[in-house]
């Protein structure tokens, strides 16, 4: 549905987006991650046709966003960063306006407005002027606008920004549900969101794609991924470490906690794929030693760790300049 090829944008001498390519198919929810100023919003603005790319191309549903802008834009629903809306209008007036400009009329329009009002819980403020609303309501009003024409493609720039935890949960559920039939790109700073909503994630840093994969694939890139956390009762951590180090396939063992009630060690295998075999071997060892095992599991890895290791060095360098 969305095909981004070699997208580049420079503002004067500054290269904001540099050769970004990816595709999103129907039924996919693509999470867009990256530090502030990495080029996430600029990329989204180019995909939605707000700013033209310096080079490269975007096609939405087969329509080039520059060459045939109108048919491409018809397919897109867009929630810009900070969720702008016309403050002098009421929620109902604003939604009716966006529906009209999308070409909806009569009953169809009324139904569309009713549908998004229900989906975004806006009944209570329908006839209130937007400037009198709290941030959460304003955000949802703009979100409602983006789905009013039931678009095939949704581009959401930080859709959960400024919402309370309940609202965040609602929006995530909504995105996940809509992701079954649409192609969705959304950017976020919240990593749990990526794990709970996305079918795929892209990490972008200093204008370039630095990682692209499913959340579990990305997590596998974490140092922690594949490590085995082992908690045993009544054995000192030191002994645990010595014994575990002798098991075949162990690269290193770190002590997490030394406590007679339950010592914890983390065991890193030689290779991440050998984690399961190693976990089995550790289990057998515990049986032979008659240890009271409280916990034995393979770590999935952590997205925040991956995010940091991929993006941090460059951010630090940037700061030093």
């Amino acid at each position: 549905m969305i095909k981004v090829q070699n997208l580049t944008k420079s503002f004067g001498p500054k290269l904001a987006v540099n050769g970004v390519s990816f595709t999103v198919e129907r039924g996919e929810v693509l999470g867009f991650l990256g530090p502030n100023g990495a080029g996430k919003s600029t990329t989204m603005r180019m995909i939605t046709g707000f700013i033209p790319p310096s080079s490269g191309s975007v096609s939405v549903g087969g329509h080039d966003i520059v060459e045939s802008a109108i048919p491409a834009k018809q397919l897109i629903g867009y929630l810009p960063e900070n969720a702008p809306s016309y403050n002098d209008m009421t929620v109902h007036g604003f939604l009716t306006f966006t529906a009209e400009i999308r070409g909806l009329q009569g009953m169809e329009l009324k139904k569309a407005v009713h549908r998004v009002v229900e989906m975004c819980f806006l009944e209570g403020v329908l006839h209130q002027s937007i400037e009198t609303l709290s941030k959460g309501f304003r955000h949802r009003t703009c979100f409602a606008q983006s789905i009013i024409h039931n678009p095939e493609v949704l581009i959401l720039d930080e859709p959960t920004d400024g919402l309370d935890p309940n609202q965040k949960h609602e929006v995530r559920t909504l995105i996940r549900r809509m992701g079954e039939t649409k192609a969705i790109i959304f950017s976020t700073h919240i990593l749990e969101e990526v794990e709970s909503v996305c079918s795929r994630a892209i990490i972008i840093d200093r204008g370039q794609v630095v990682a692209n994969g499913t959340p579990s694939e990305l997590k596998m890139r974490s140092e922690l991924a594949g490590a085995i956390t082992f908690k045993v009762q009544g054995v000192s951590a030191q002994i645990l470490k010595e014994k575990a180090s002798n098991v075949q396939g162990v690269r290193k063992v770190l002590i997490v906690k030394d406590d007679p009630i339950g010592s914890i060690v983390r065991i890193y295998p030689n290779s991440k794929s050998a984690a399961e075999v190693l976990a089995g071997a550790l289990g057998n060892m515990a049986l032979q030693e008659k240890w009271g095992v409280e916990e034995l599991h393979i770590e999935e890895g952590r997205l925040d760790e991956v995010f940091r290791t991929i993006t941090l060095p460059e951010t630090v360098q940037e700061g030093r300049k």
Partner: protein, 248 residues
């Protein structure tokens, strides 16, 4: 959706935006008060002792100088400041439709304010028998004049997200269009230059020169083309400014 209904939708939204806030009512009241003041106090309506609206229309270029930019200054700068421009221009519409829609809305608003001056016409008709044809062409000229100023405001408003800057720029540009044909200035030009063509050329750029004909009851195609050209040129420049902002 066809171009016309897109423009209509944008115009409707923009117009309702005016009336959703007190700005519209304040503007209309001030406009009517000032128009009345200039006509009856400064313009010497009664002293003229003639059944014409000359003293009413005479002041319009000056009245519009400040009032029209106050209507037009928010057109695009507000969209840029609040970020709604991103919303508007990612809708399935062309920038041109948005520009025209917004311009037409503010022009209609000004037309409404102008139409509300009808009591002056009634007063004159009651007191004597004015040439209604002249009054009509004067109204037409006044409307075109307002449109020209408005298009300039539209352009300056696209240049900045600051409404005050937009207002000042627009006043300065409009003032130039007045002064180029204002008698004190043309006289001065006459004195310093012996080339009569110079005065003529400069005066040809003035709204005063082109508004004059309408006040006398003549509709000259050249005058209409002049105002239409200012509107067309300013709106075209607006579209270029908007495009260049997006291009970064």
């Amino acid at each position: 959706m066809n171009s016309f209904s897109v423009i209509k939708t944008i115009t409707k939204r923009e117009l309702s935006g005016y009336f959703a806030s007190p700005v519209a009512y304040v503007f209309i009241v001030i406009f009517l008060l000032l128009a009345g003041f200039f006509t009856f106090m400064a313009g010497g309506f009664f002293e003229r002792n003639e059944a014409s609206l000359l003293s009413f229309f005479l002041w319009h270029p000056w009245l519009y100088l400040f009032l029209v930019p106050s209507v037009g200054m928010r057109l695009w700068s507000e969209e840029r400041r609040s970020g709604t421009m991103e919303l508007l221009l990612t809708m399935p519409i062309t920038p041109w439709q948005a520009i025209v829609g917004k311009f037409v809305a503010s022009w209609m608003f000004l037309a409404l304010a102008l139409a509300l001056t009808f009591p002056v016409w009634i007063t004159v008709s009651y007191l004597g028998s004015p040439d209604h044809g002249v009054v009509l062409t004067s109204y037409l000229g006044s409307l075109l004049l307002a449109g020209a100023y408005l298009a300039i405001s539209c352009m300056t408003s696209a240049m900045t997200r600051n409404q005050v800057v937009s207002f000042i720029l627009s006043v300065v540009m409009s003032l130039f269009l007045i002064l180029a044909g204002w008698p004190p200035v043309t006289r001065l030009l006459d004195q310093i230059s012996d080339n009569p063509r110079l005065v003529e050329t400069v005066a040809a750029f003035s709204v005063m020169t082109h508004f004059e004909g309408f006040q006398k009851g003549t509709i000259d195609l050249r005058d209409i083309v002049f105002f239409a050209a200012i509107i067309g040129f300013s709106l075209f420049t607006t579209s270029i400014i908007i495009r260049s902002h997006r291009a970064g």
